[in-house]
Symmetry: C2
Subunit: 138 residues, 2 copies
DNA sequence: CTTGAACCTACAGCTACTGTAGAATTTGCA
DNA sequence: TGCAAATTCTACAGTAGCTGTAGGTTCAAG
C-alpha cells in the first residue's frame, strides 16, 4: 500500500526529491506515513497529487493557484466556477505574455539585423538597444 | 555636472531607488560621486547607462548578458560579433518561449472549454488538468 | 553482516529585485 | 536662520520556486 519511497515518487513524477519535501513544507503535499526509521512512504494518491501539481506547474500555474485548485477538489460539492476561473485567468495571463514576447521578438529582430559586422565603435547593436523610442515594448 | 540625486535618476529612468543601489552593488552601475554628506550624485552618463540597462531588462536580457554588453562597449575596438551573438541568443530564447507558451495556450483553452458548469465532482477542469497524456506540453 | 545507495534535517544560494528599520542629510519655507 | 518634511544612507530580510550542500542515519542487496 505505502510502497513508494520519496525517490520512487520523484522518479515517477519526474521531480527532484527536494522539490517534494518543499511541497510538503509549503502544504501542497500532505505529510506522508513514515517508516520506523523516519523515512517517508507514499501511496498512489500521493503520486496522483504530485503529478497534478507538476503538470499544473508546467502549464504555468503558481503554487498558490494550485493550492486553491487542490483545496477545491477536496470539497467536491462546491461549484466548479472558481476552478474554471483560475484556469481562465491563467489563460489570460499566458496570452498576455505571448503578446508581450511577440513585441520583444520584433525588437530583437530589428536589433540583430542592425549589426553589419565591424567593431563595437561602428556597431549599431548597442545603439539600437539603447533606443527605446523606436520600440513598442512597455 | 553631477546634478542627479538617486531619486532624480530613479524618476528619470523609471526605476526604484533600491534597484539602482542594487545595480551598483552588483557592478552594473559604477560607484558615483558623493556629497559631503555621503549622498550619491549622478551625471548624464550614469543616466544613459541606467536607461540602457532598464531597456535591456525590458527586452528580457539577464543582468549577466547586460554586464557582458556593457563590458564590450567599454572596449570599442573589439569586434562586435560577441555583442550581436548575445542579441541573437536572446532572440532565440524569446522565440522558444513564445513557442512553448503557444502550446500552453492550446492546452489551457482545451481545459477551460471542458467546464460545462456544475459541481467540482462533475467538472472536467481538474480531470483535464491532470491528463498530461492529451497534451503537447513538455 | 557489511557496504553503498538512498534517506533525514537544516540551512545557504539562486535571480532580480522589493521592502523595512532606524539614523543622517538635504530642502523648502517662514 | 530655524525647523519640519522629504529624501537618502546602510544593512538586512523577504519574495517565488526551487536547488544544492553538509553531516549524519537508515535501508536493501549480496
Ligand atoms: Zn555589429
Ligand atoms: Zn523597447
Ligand atoms: Zn466546471
Ligand atoms: Zn501538458
Amino acid at each position: 500500500m505505502y510502497k513508494y519511497s520519496i525517490g520512487d515518487l520523484a522518479r515517477a513524477a519526474a521531480t527532484k526529491v527536494q522539490t517534494i519535501r518543499y511541497y510538503e513544507e509549503t502544504g501542497l503535499m500532505p505529510e506522508p506515513m513514515r517508516t520506523a526509521g523516519n523515512q517517508r512512504r507514499y501511496d498512489e494518491t500521493a503520486l496522483n497529487r504530485l503529478s497534478f501539481i507538476r503538470h499544473s506547474r508546467q502549464l504555468g500555474f503558481s503554487l498558490d493557484s494550485i493550492k486553491a485548485l487542490l483545496h477545491l477538489t477536496d470539497n467536491p460539492d462546491q461549484s466548479c466556477q472558481q476552478a474554471n476561473q483560475i484556469a481562465v485567468e491563467q489563460l489570460v495571463e499566458v496570452e498576455s505574455r505571448i503578446a508581450r514576447l511577440n513585441d520583444l521578438r520584433k525588437e530583437l529582430v530589428r536589433i540583430s539585423q542592425s549589426c553589419k559586422g565591424g567593431t563595437m565603435a561602428d556597431c549599431k547593436v548597442i545603439e539600437t538597444l539603447s533606443e527605446h523610442s523606436l520600440c513598442d515594448c512597455s
